[in-house]
């Protein structure tokens, strides 16, 4: 049977590598947890309840919600830096 050499159409060397989990640290009083809300209908209302739940379980932390103007657009690099600078934990990737 004839053999042929062909290209792979995909990306064999996947540059998107797994990122190791961050080291776990105890949250200290005043720690900031930021939830990124994607702008979809009812997302803010739903995540506000999640924030309330976190505050009830972790009264020592402050919980902020950062709203995006469009679910389709990532936050900017400047926004990411600012959020990272003031937060101890960021919850993102909230979908439909």
């Amino acid at each position: 049977m004839a053999q042929i050499t062909v290209h792979r159409p995909d990306v064999a060397d996947d540059r998107a590598r797994l990122t190791p989990l961050a080291r776990r640290v105890a949250l200290t009083p005043g720690a900031v947890v930021t939830i990124i809300e994607n702008g979809k209908p009812n997302a803010r209302a739903l995540l506000a309840k999640v924030a309330d739940g976190l505050r009830a379980r972790l009264p020592i932390v402050r919980v902020d919600i950062h709203s995006k103007p469009s679910a389709a657009l990532a936050i900017t690099a400047d926004e990411a830096k600012a959020i990272a600078a003031r937060s101890h934990l960021v919850i993102t990737g909230v979908g439909d």
Partner: protein, 403 residues
């Protein structure tokens, strides 16, 4: 930008595929292997042999490692070689390749927002509209069955860009393509523009290019809607029918601050409207105004208004909501075959704050690809952009200058 460079690859230069990007297989196993790997759209593919891929790159004068564009959110760099591999698989002839590369260059512009357009549950196709002399040189179809099957260039150019999305961007289901339904245009959706009636410029001229230029416009679209009006002789009545279709509340973006539409004018409708003296600009303005909807119209269709979310749905002072943000959001394409009086339209799948149509000029035969080498040998698409390229998502369309 480093300015115009020589062609980045001379014809006959040996291919330089990385060893990890080639595989040796039994020819008889090709289809089953490619289907099993998830590399096909479900249809048979042409074997992307080194020689065929090399011929594709030679036809455009591109080196394999030339960067067509990137999708930073996915950490993806799309090279000319990967585009060529998928173009071969799609069945493209080498002479189609400059159009495929230009279409991919447009799709990878930030304004298009490819990361989301190939991911959203809305299931957008990568709609490609080609305008200009290249459509004749490549024997593309602009007439009967323009949205259907039967023309090799239309079918394979559209299929090639979708295969790149699948294989390089990971737009598969299951996978990163979250389309709840999708539509048949996700196999291929590429059309050619037919010459417009007297008094109207073709799309590429309206966008700021020369009549002898060719252009590619890409838009992330829902499936096409056919528009029937077989009896009305008056332009206004024909355009009211168009507006009625575009403002239909079942379309996701209606009333949500403005999206873009590809309006495909069939021969009878284009002739009737142009003959009455309506310019393309007149048509665009009419459609913007007559596609505005009231909250009551949406409510009658069971559609609720978004409050405090990403889409602005507060009625304007006239009590209506915007469907098309500006005349610049209306892309008029003359095409289709003569008959009873048919046209069609394709809405972009989401409001313009999320993604925009993008147009680029196709390089003329033997025209070098300018490069910018800041991050590797990257095609400098700014040279092929219209005078006023579309603003990034998040900025409303302004007027025809940005069409």
């Amino acid at each position: 930008m480093t300015g115009i460079a020589e062609p980045v690859r001379s014809p006959g230069t040996p291919p330089a595929a990385a060893a990890s990007d080639v595989i040796v297989i039994d020819e008889a196993d090709l289809q089953e292997r490619f289907h099993a790997e998830g590399w096909s759209d479900g249809l048979p593919v042409v074997a992307p042999t080194l020689e065929r891929v090399d011929a594709m790159l030679d036809a455009a004068g591109l080196a394999p490692d030339t960067i067509v564009g990137t999708v930073p959110q996915r950490d993806r760099i799309i090279t000319a070689e990967k585009v060529a591999v998928n173009a071969v698989m799609a069945g493209c002839r080498p002479e189609y390749f400059p159009v495929v590369v230009t279409a991919m260059g447009a799709i990878l512009q930030p304004a298009f927002n490819a990361h989301t357009a190939v991911t959203s549950t809305g299931g957008a196709a990568l709609c490609v509209v080609v305008s200009g002399p290249e459509t004749e040189r490549l024997a593309m179809n602009a007439r009967h069955n323009v949205l259907g099957s039967g023309n090799r260039a239309n079918a394979t150019i559209g299929r090639a860009v979708r295969l790149v999305a699948r294989n390089v961007l990971g737009a598969t289901s299951p996978g990163l393509d979250g389309s709840s339904f999708g539509h048949p245009g996700k196999y291929s959706l590429c059309i050619a523009e037919a010459p417009p009636p007297a008094g109207w410029d073709p799309l590429r001229v309206e966008l700021g290019f020369g009549v002898d230029d060719s252009s590619v416009t890409v838009a992330p679209t829902e499936g096409p809607w056919q528009i029937a009006n077989h009896l009305a002789p008056a332009a206004r009545d024909i355009l009211l029918t168009f507006a009625a279709a575009i403002r239909c509340p079942v379309t996701f973006s209606v009333g949500k601050g403005g999206h873009e539409v590809m309006v495909l004018f069939g021969p009878e409708h284009a002739q009737a409207v142009a003959a009455e003296g309506w310019s393309r600009s007149d048509v665009r303005e009419f459609l913007v105004e007559h596609t505005r909807v009231t909250p009551e119209e949406l409510a009658a269709a069971g559609v609720h208004l978004e409050v405090g979310a990403q889409h602005e749905m507060t009625p304007d002072s006239d009590g209506r909501l915007t469907t098309l943000a500006s005349p610049g959001a209306v892309y008029i394409v003359t095409c289709g075959g003569a008959g009873a009086g048919w046209s069609a339209y394709l809405p972009t799948w989401a409001p313009s704050i999320h993604a925009r149509a993008v147009t680029l000029r196709i390089p003329r035969p033997h025209e070098p690809w300018p490069r910018t080498d800041a991050d590797g040998p990257t095609i400098d698409w700014s040279v092929f952009a219209p005078p006023a390229p579309p603003a990034p998502p998040g900025v409303p369309a302004t007027h025809s200058a940005s069409v």
